[in-house]
Amino acid sequence: MKAARFLIIIFSGLMIVVSPSLAKPGGQGDAERAFSCMDSCHLGSSGKDSSATIIIELDRERVFTGQLISLSIKTSGMELSEKGLVGVFLLSKEGSPLDDWKVVQDPNGGNNNYVEKPVFSSTQGATFTWILQAPDTNGNYSIDAAIHHGADPNPDEYAYLGRLTTPLQIEVEAMPEDLPRFSEGWKPISSRDLGDETTITIETEDTDDLAVEWRTGSSETILEAPLIKQGDGVWLFTLPASSVESNLTWRAKLSNPALEEITPWFTLSSSQPAYDIDEQALMIQAIAGGILAAAIAIAMQRRFAYPSQKGEGL
């Protein structure tokens, strides 16, 4: 009885002593998110202010309606958790996800306004680059950015929050009628398996000539990809395979006699083939494992637990 009471006291003590944790050191995952923190601001609006410096940069001076642009958030000087995970939001002025701007490619190859990446050095920081399609209507727009992360140590489990002091103001002008551009609805490929060459088809409008440049990572060496013209305004090019997990970036230079347009750098990441399994086979394997476990357990019960015949002592 003493042991049982001791065990009860230990269990009760543990339940009282261990404080519940709401921290998410593994992050929340990339998603379309408003800056309401969802369930990540562990202490509601009383999260701590981040020490991060946030700089927002646009890759061009003039922006036209429907044009593809590159927007970079450079952040450094932030506190870092043990895992160094930093989440960055790209937001409208009101703190909601961008409604008018379409995310063509986020820093992790998705289409989200919120992404997370590990940052290895607070001093060096990190750059998060989005490729956006400008709104269809001309006018003045503002784009805001926010950051959240943890700290190490962080005993009170604060969410560290930082926001741009002044949102970026962008004047979107009406697109010139003959601006060379990609066709409406074109989407970049963001990832591929290791060892696979990638053939990309580009459909364009108002484009007489096209050149495609590519580079590995952010290397200074820029190479030109050979193009095959498939039809009116349709080109095809192949990017070489990669044998290691890495990023390759490419951009297109579209031109006609009047205008030239250079797209942002699109990222194509190479990674190990995704884990894939036949769910039906898994279910059968799992049920078989369960039945086998039951069979072994019942066999042990009957072999070791039961007396050989009723009436015999243990």
């Binding site: 042991a3 884990y275 086979a281 394997q285 078989a288 494992g289 637990a305 039961y306 002592g313």
Partner: protein, 204 residues
């Protein structure tokens, strides 16, 4: 419209909560069986609580598995952790079913007979352990950390048998279960000390 993820949270909390309690009660009942000559009220409470919790857990587990599969992001089970979660869930169901079978067929007095109590306790704790491992893997998958720490590393790899081999293993498993149930001595309800099972002192 409530998503599968929300139902999964409810089903998981129900399953893990009841099973964790069952594990604690089974452990306590096993310890008490070594300490007591005659079952105390606490022992009876542990036994009945564990039985109710195991039944509740067994009812909730299939819902947790189904909603978990439906709530998995992307194209189905695209992560070895999810694969192992499914595998351990069914192993847990199998072990708890065996535990329930033993408890139901031998009655509450099984705890007063040392070999039966030890086997029953070990099966219950193994079942509880496998379900808590599943819960821990859920944390590893969604939050990137688990209570198991570095011990969760092997669970990031999986052994897939494929459809044909899985069917073969299923047939062998069913055959093994049928053989055990039909060929091994049938269980009967155990009686308390001073009865035909002898050892009037109980377990000491």
């Amino acid at each position: 419209m409530v998503g599968a993820g929300t139902f999964h949270v409810v089903a998981t909390e129900l399953a893990v909560g009841t099973i964790a309690l069952a594990g604690a009660m089974i452990s306590l009942r096993l310890i008490l069986s070594f300490r007591e000559k005659y079952p105390s009220r606490l022992s009876e409470l542990c036994d009945s609580t564990s039985l109710v919790c195991v039944v509740a857990g067994l009812c909730a587990l299939p819902f947790a598995i189904i909603t978990g599969v439906l709530a998995a992001p992307g194209d189905g089970l695209d992560n070895p952790l999810l694969f192992n979660k499914m595998l351990f869930s069914w192993v847990g169901i199998g072990l708890f079913s065996a535990w329930f079978h033993g408890r139901f067929s031998m009655g509450p007095n099984l705890w007063n007979h040392r070999p039966a109590a030890i086997i029953q306790g070990l099966i219950g704790m193994a079942a509880c352990g496998s379900i808590l491992t599943v819960a821990s893997m859920g944390g590893k998958y969604s939050r990137g950390e688990s209570l198991m720490g570095p011990m969760s590393k092997p669970l990031e790899y999986s052994i897939e048998l494929g459809t044909t081999s899985s069917i073969l293993v299923l047939i062998v498993s069913v055959a093994a279960l049928v053989s055990v149930l039909k060929l091994m001595p049938q269980p009967y309800s155990m009686e308390f000390g001073g009865s035909s099972l002898g050892d009037s002192e109980g377990i000491n």
